[in-house]
Amino acid sequence: MPSPLPELRERLLRAGIAPRHARRYLAELTDHLSDLTVEERSHGLSPSDARTAALARIGTTDSLAAAMIAQPQFQSFTARAPWAVFGLTPFILLAALWFISLCLLRLGWHLFLPGAITPFGSVPGQQLLDLRNIYFQVNRALYLGAPILVGWSMILIAIRQRRRALWPMLSLILLTLLAATSHVQANRLEVPTGLGHIRVDFALRPAAQNEYALAVLLLALLPYITWRFRSHAELSA
């Protein structure tokens, strides 16, 4: 008789049980199964018969799953409010990462380019490995990579909790739209009395930005596609 635990895990996660609750349930069931096997062995059964008897005593996959699924308080927040996790969280995370990136841009502008009208553009005599160049390029990578990082986190949640593809796709579409339309502007002249002005506006952009948005979508989607292929291959095997 095969162990019901791997299938049970999948059923619990697909039913929306939070991974930590499913993990603890399975851990305790594993211990219980082990105790039952030892008990049945002490009654003189062979190892395989003892295992079969223990599996029969612990309950069927259906009954074990139903007992947990009947407790709605063990459902994850993602299962109860997927619209919040996959619809709102990407906005919040992306806004936070972009805010950090723009703060770093502002800091770099103040430290490395005091008096420059804009932090964008090349500095005369600047080397590739110049500290200033490295600083701004790393910050640029953070800004451009932020939608991908957020997309990966949404994919990770979807995979971990076995959510339907619809939800992470919603996140990725939102992130792609933001990536396709966002544009950072920094100019000291816009606010004459200020230290410099940085703003992000959103509008349809030329083709280059669309290529970036497409790259965001594909890179963010890559782990999910890989996982789906692996799951399919495991099921087929």
Binding site: I58, S63, L64, A67, M68, Q71
Partner: protein, 118 residues
């Protein structure tokens, strides 16, 4: 081998009562609890043994039990023990079940409730 028969109505509040009663006496882990239920009820109450855990987790979540992982004979076990809130819950459940059992017993033995005065 087929799974042993279980009593479907077992899950309607009875396991909670039995678990709280057992844990009032001493802390136990899941396997011990199930074996104690089997032994003390003469196996009259039978259940797929694994389904006791969602009940335990639910009681813990409600604050009726606390869970603590302890090493025993080289293995790690999660021991459950009763909290003061759990003791109050046990008292309420016991009263409810005692009244219910008395009422059922009364009917089974052919007794009647007192008639209101006309």
């Amino acid at each position: 081998m087929t799974p042993r028969d279980s009593n479907p109505s077992f899950m309607n509040g009875v396991p909670e009562l039995l678990i709280l009663q057992l844990l009032q006496q001493q802390e136990m882990y899941g396997y011990e609890i199930v074996q104690a239920i089997r032994t003390r009820t003469g196996a009259v109450i039978a259940v797929g043994e694994g389904v006791v855990y969602p009940v335990l987790h639910n009681l813990e979540r409600d604050g009726a039990l606390t869970a603590q992982r302890k090493p025993v004979n080289g293995r790690s076990r999660i021991y459950y023990s009763l909290t003061p809130a759990g003791a109050r819950r046990l008292s309420d459940l016991s009263t409810t079940w005692t009244n219910l059992a008395t009422a059922i017993q009364h009917i089974l033995t052919g007794g009647q409730h007192a008639q209101p005065l006309a």
